[in-house]
């Protein structure tokens, strides 16, 4: 948790937590495991009313931040989502909203943002090609020019979160003139979604196939191919990664909290587990991993907001959190003993969430490579 939340932020955190606890407790999350979309639209609208989709949208488009730092504000929600392995298209919808607000045409903003702000529309981002990395920049979808500023889009994007329920797709495609992004309705002819099974109980993913989809000039975001679009793609990746690690830190926070409680309550050989030094030292390490994760999440979200040294700081966070948080949860499973690997116990819901988060928006290996490059190697 950010130690310097202002009053508005703290209040927002409180209301979000209370809403999630009452409207999406873990029992509900387990029910949603059987829901094809993994979340309930009406529930999502209520979350939007709390501001979940407004923070990255400037005020003149009906949004607004709490602290002037949209990513830091949104990270508060992401962290709460982690604490309760919450459902809902939080990250993709906000990633798309941020770009439409920043680089969309007036028409696109007018058409898309109000619906997203109201929680009426869900947006998904198509960027990763099958068997390609997140950061290599080799996009899976190709865009060919097609007269008057339009494109024909073809190819497949995978690991598209909320693909199955998306009303809008933001598609990052490679073109002869460099990367280009287009914003397409979910029901655009030629777009085919294959729903995928997944490790997380409620976060849903899909493969999105583009069979020579016609994207008119009006669908282009950020004025066509080139640096602008490349910059937007980079911002999207960093925002997604920053929110993902914030969510993972929220998981670590909650799971460690639960496991510390367990260690105090649970007796073995007439002593509480918390009195065994071998466990105490492991708890000390986990506490360190947790605080360091919070520290680097905070660093990453602030860097996204300030756009200063942002690539290094986001990569450092993805490396540290990606390496430590899943191991933290695993050790908490270990401390719980056999029940920790039963379906009935909730801890595996958390482990699934962070195992997924470790891979999304770049694995630790990919971000280590990026840091090596940044270091001049």
């Amino acid at each position: 948790m950010d130690l310097t939340l202002n009053g508005d932020q703290s209040f927002f955190q409180e209301t979000t937590r209370r809403f999630l606890e009452s409207e999406a407790p873990l029992t509900r999350v387990r029910e949603l495991a059987d829901d094809p979309n993994g979340f309930d639209r009406a529930w999502w609208r209520r979350g939007a009313e709390l501001g979940w989709t407004a923070l990255v949208v400037p005020e003149d488009h009906g949004g607004g931040t709490l602290s002037g730092r949209p990513c830091a504000d949104l990270a508060i929600v992401a962290e709460e989502f982690g604490r309760l392995v919450s459902p809902g298209p939080l990250i993709p919808t906000n990633v798309v909203a941020a770009t439409v607000a920043r680089s969309g045409t007036p028409e696109q903003r007018a058409e898309v943002l109000p619906a997203i702000l109201a929680g009426e529309a869900v947006a998904a981002w198509c960027v990763k090609g099958p068997d390609r990395g997140w950061l290599a920049g080799d996009l899976g979808v190709e865009a060919r020019r097609d007269g008057d500023g339009g494109f024909v889009v073809a190819g497949t994007a995978t690991m598209v979160e909320a693909a199955g329920s998306a009303d809008w797709f933001l598609v990052s495609a490679r073109s002869a003139d460099g990367p280009v992004q287009v914003l397409l309705r979910g029901d655009t002819p030629g777009i085919r979604v294959t729903r995928l099974g997944g490790l997380d109980l409620v976060r849903r993913f899909g493969k999105v196939h583009f069979d020579d989809v016609a994207a008119p000039g009006a669908a282009v975001v950020g004025g066509g191919p080139g640096d602008g679009a490349a910059d937007d793609v980079g911002r999207q990746l960093r925002l997604g990664a920053a929110l993902e690690v914030a969510q993972m830190a929220g998981v670590a926070d909650r799971v460690l909290e639960l496991t510390v409680e367990y260690a105090f309550d649970r007796y073995s050989f007439g002593r509480p587990l918390a009195s065994y030094q071998a466990l105490k030292h492991r708890f000390a390490d986990m506490k360190l991993w947790l605080e360091a994760s919070h520290a680097t999440v905070e660093g990453a979200t602030r860097a996204v907001d300030d756009d200063v040294d942002v690539e290094r700081l986001v990569s450092a966070a993805k490396v540290y959190v990606g390496d430590h948080v899943p191991e933290l949860v695993q050790d908490c499973v270990q401390i719980h003993g056999g029940i920790g690997v039963t379906w009935e116990h909730d801890i595996h819901l958390y482990l699934r969430r962070v195992t997924l988060g470790r891979g999304l928006y770049g694995t630790p290996d990919e971000h280590r490579e990026r840091l090596a490059v940044a270091a001049g190697l």
Partner: protein
């Protein structure tokens, strides 16, 4: 006895080499060769697996290779361990009855052999050597964790029977088994180790409910049992009343020996998940399209080394136990290695599988992701790695025992877990 009507033990004792030739021939004719990476009793419908094990055990029995180190008077072959090892070597790579090898033949069996009355031995040993009856352990309890001697399941004497109440957990395949060795508390006024009794309990019996436990990976081999005034005849006590910890200690010794590969009663060399794991990792590396990446290659090489050293350690510990260089608890070294090695293997597999571990097309997929979520099971089942570290430091290195707040205290006064711990944490 009918059991002696099968192939008689070879007397005068057959030479090892002749024996080896006979085993080799018999194995080739009577057992099924496994596919690379295939396990014994291939998982399918559970029904198949248990009955498959019974058939296989029976086949061994008819061939004269069941209970090779068990006394002939109880249906065994009465041969020394070398003969079992010859059989193990010659049958490697063939299908054998895992469910009988462990725990029936190597853990429950030897305990009955040590503490059973003549009647008990005659009644139970030939039956499992023949493959008629499958055994299971009722040792762990939901509230007990690693503290077996802290059992809360109570057996109350009532004339010539005991009334069993409480619950047990982590019994493997109990719902397909016939009998169990069950540790229960018969005296609450003495320190915990002195108030326990070991019972022979029929699994499918009035007052006993067996539930399968669904694990994170979807498997349901483990069970939990609830006892509700289950009536157990006093004749079913194994060893002495209130002396159950002596029996349990030996049972745990036999378990370590079986796990450590030093038991004369296990049958065959378990096809090691590592083999499967190994080919699997290489397939994953190739499938990932990153087989040329030195990081990927390094991880595969790492898994290889870990796997090779694991076999070497198992051999060393077995030798050390046989030659007396190592004390009994040395089996804990193998257990600790197995746990950490599996953690490494599963983590490497997750890394190599990439996206396929996280999302997949169709109903079946994400195996590496699911294995990762189940990862710690390898450090919990069969005694946690924490217990293994306690045993190694205290009973191999001789370091001071951990302070136990329940030592020398009447058990009823010991602070313990009251609430059932089988609850979600959310």
């Amino acid at each position: 006895m009918t059991t002696t009507s099968s192939t008689p033990a070879t007397t005068p004792r057959e030479e090892l080499d002749a024996y080896r030739r006979r085993v080799r021939a018999w194995v080739a004719d009577n057992l099924r060769k496994l596919e690379p990476g295939e396990r014994w009793e291939p998982l399918g419908d559970d029904d198949d697996r248990a009955s498959r094990a019974r058939q296989l055990q029976r086949r061994l029995y008819d061939g004269g290779f069941a209970g090779i180190c068990y006394p002939t008077e109880y249906g065994g072959q009465g041969l020394p361990i070398e003969y079992q090892r010859v059989f193990d070597a010659e049958s490697e790579g063939y299908e054998l009855p895992a469910l009988f090898s462990v725990p029936t033949l190597s853990i429950c069996g030897p305990t009955i052999l040590e503490f059973g009355t003549e009647e008990q031995k005659q009644r139970y040993i030939p039956a499992f050597i023949r493959g008629d009856e499958l055994w299971v352990q009722f040792m762990s309890e939901p509230t007990g964790g690693s503290d077996m001697a802290g059992a809360l399941t109570r057996a109350t004497r009532d004339g010539d029977v005991f009334l069993l109440n409480g619950s047990k957990v982590w019994s493997t395949y109990a719902y397909r088994s016939d009998f169990a060795l069950c540790l229960a508390r018969t005296n609450w006024d003495v320190p915990k180790h002195r108030g326990l009794t070991m019972f022979i309990v029929p699994v499918h019996h009035p007052g006993i409910t067996v539930n399968q436990i669904k694990m994170v990976d979807g498997t349901e081999e483990f069970c939990e049992e609830f006892f509700d005034d289950a009536v157990i005849p006093a004749d079913n006590v194994l060893g002495e009343v209130d002396d159950g910890w002596t029996v349990a200690t030996r049972l745990l010794f036999h378990e370590r020996a079986a796990v450590g590969g030093a038991s004369p009663y296990t049958c065959g060399r378990m096809p090691r998940g590592a083999d499967a794991g190994r080919t699997e990792l290489i397939d994953l590396a190739k499938a990932s399209g990153r087989a040329a990446d030195p990081r990927v290659r390094g991880r595969v090489g790492q898994a290889e080394a870990t796997d090779i050293v694991q076999r070497q350690l198992v051999d060393r510990v077995r030798t050390g136990l046989e030659t007396g260089h190592f004390p009994g608890p040395a089996g804990s070294l193998v257990r600790l290695y197995a746990g950490t090695a599996q953690v490494e293997r599963v983590t490497i597999a997750l890394e190599l599988a990439g996206d396929d571990a996280l999302v997949w097309e169709g109903d079946d997929g994400g195996h590496q992701g699911i294995r990762y979520v189940q990862r710690q099971a390898a450090c919990l089942g069969g005694g946690s790695t924490e217990m293994a570290r306690n045993i190694i430091s205290e009973r191999i290195l001789g370091m001071p025992r951990e302070y136990a707040a329940d030592r020398d205290v009447p058990f009823r006064d010991v602070r313990r877990n009251t609430m059932p711990s089988r609850k979600g944490s959310g």
